[in-house]
Symmetry: C2
């Protein structure tokens, strides 16, 4: 049983911990946290051994009645691999700690690509992380783009990608962030850093991105253009191709899902943990071909789409399973895919055939 | 087994259906819905018999591959009691349908109080609904105020309540509603209708309310003032009194919960269905006494706080259990109360005592 330590128990860390616990081949060695807030209370309730990030900050946990198993140094010593889910930039400060213990580590997409040997996406380059000591799981936006680009690239060839990323201002618990009541060019320089980040996964890909930030907290939305090398005869061919991908969710027009609010409501109705949406959500009606230009819009759940990627990266680094096996196991254990949408589609098709 | 029909399967109806299913003494006869959207797909997935509200609108369900068990008339005929969770004003149009079938019905707080013999809150007036044919479960805001007023009224007497309701603009899926980027006096007339609505539960209570609407979707927030007839010696007495109430959740200061965003994150971390918060959330630090004036702030989850009240109202109308028994069973089956907050508090107290 692989022992996974999680350093940083926030939006991503707490989800990775629960996902690790759901796997048959790994277990949570413990989680490290800075402050004894409600998220720490959740870790205690989940009975994850809790480690303080800093010796100087153990008193707060003590006062809140939370027991500590030790400090983050103890956690790393007791782990076969560490998932670093600390805020952007802190991961780089932590790397010497992992080196000292000779423990492999995953970093998140907020870190600079140079922190690791490989920037990872399970669909695009699973094998590249095998036997690497340090791997960076790319950001939510880069994950979303990589998943979409992969099958298109394989089947049609890509001349160029041009994408506008309309990004949420902060996560639901980040009350203090902006913007409020504005749509900010962010960064104002073009191309934004997202394009080069996709190139850490697809080095040869020609891609430019433009970034904005808006006053929402639920999901990012991408307006995507991909100029194909060779266009299919019919757009339905692309739709079928994308529908066949396990981490792309097609949103049918009749379902009345008009944005992130209804998508989150759908996920909560489905009983998903924390209402998470691990898949790219692509509005089926938006998939359009004009000449060799493919267009679509997709929503990306920034809190959770990298979670299955972290699980797969753990398996790649440690050699537990090959790519297709790992992805299938991760999908099954987390519950990826939403049968109520697929079934309705099938039932409707069956019925039309019967009519 | 009491057969409960649910007419209107939206924000409230889908939650009431799941809550009914969780009870040992009742079952879902079926749910009625207008349109075959993603929420209807959820009903199909949950295997609730689905009834069309309108004969003329069955084609859409057919096209979406959703089977129908009949129309709403069939549902009422097959139910021992109906929970009407249709949009405000539609309940009044439906009452003749329930009368024709001689079927008791619950209406929601969006209906005028005159629709029913009793306006109901489980903590305040459970017994008044027993044997009534038509009962109105008061709105989310009135429910929140009634729960808070009850224990204070019993122990200290209330001279007057003055409350400002800072209300969310719409539910998370109601993308088309306002306001955006404004805080609207709503209604601009004072007192707002909320005070008189609380008086449908507490006829003798002197209460004035002011309503506003802001661009949030997660929860309402109440700024409450209650002038007591007799003030306690120490504010901690009030805190302990409120902490003893099963549907009031005390939010401790150290937990870092600063608003509805973190409250929802907490509920999702706790694995609650749809991240629901059935309890009033009272910031413990806000509970303050100045002379005979008691102040506090509480957040009210508009999507779910009336759900346990509907379950209790079903039992009151049909005489299944008495009030304390019903409330206890509802609390237990839904999972009301958040042990991670209570336990932390107890652990901290234990530890301080030990120190």
């Amino acid at each position: 049983m692989l022992r996974v330590g999680i350093n940083g128990y926030g939006t991503i860390g707490k989800r990775v911990a629960d996902a690790v616990r759901a796997q048959p081949d790994m277990e949570v060695a413990g989680v490290a946290k800075v402050s004894p807030d409600y998220v720490a209370l959740g870790a205690a309730e989940a009975e994850y051994p809790l480690y303080a990030v800093d010796e100087d900050r153990t008193d707060g946990f003590h006062e809140a009645g939370i027991d500590l198993a030790g400090t983050v140094d103890d956690l790393v010593a007791d782990s076969d691999i560490v998932v670093d889910a600390t805020p952007s930039g802190i991961g780089a400060q932590n790397r010497p700690l992992y080196e000292r213990h000779d423990t492999p580590a995953l970093f998140q997409g907020g870190e600079d690509a140079t922190i690791a040997e490989v920037s990872f996406n399970a669909r695009a380059n699973y094998d590249e992380a095998t036997d690497a000591d340090y791997v960076r799981v790319v950001s939510c936006n880069t994950t979303g783009l990589s998943r979409l680009v992969s099958p298109i690239h394989e089947d049609y060839g890509i001349e160029k990608v041009r994408t506008t990323l309309v990004r949420r201002g902060g996560d639901p618990d980040q009350t203090g962030r902006g913007p409020i009541n504005d749509a900010l060019p962010d960064p104002v320089s073009i191309p934004s850093h997202h394009g080069p980040d996709v190139q850490t996964v697809f080095p040869e890909l020609d891609i430019d991105t433009i970034g904005l930030k808006v006053p929402t907290t639920m999901m990012h939305v991408h307006a995507v253009n991909i100029t194909l090398e060779e266009a299919p005869d019919d757009v339905s061919e692309i739709r079928d191709r994308l529908r066949g991908e396990d981490r792309l969710l097609m949103i049918p027009d009749y379902a009345g899902i008009d944005g992130a609010g209804t998508l989150k409501d759908l996920a909560l109705d489905a009983g998903r943990p924390r209402g998470d949406i691990w898949e790219n959500c692509i509005w089926e009606e938006s998939i359009t071909i004009e000449g060799r230009d493919l267009y679509c819009m997709q929503a990306i759940h920034q809190e959770s789409d990298v979670v299955p990627e972290n699980i797969d990266a753990i398996r790649s680094v440690t050699g537990l399973l090959d790519g297709p096996e790992s992805r299938a196991l991760t999908n099954e254990t987390l519950g990826i895919g939403l049968s109520r949408l697929d079934n309705a589609e099938e039932r409707a098709v069956d019925r039309q055939t019967a009519d």
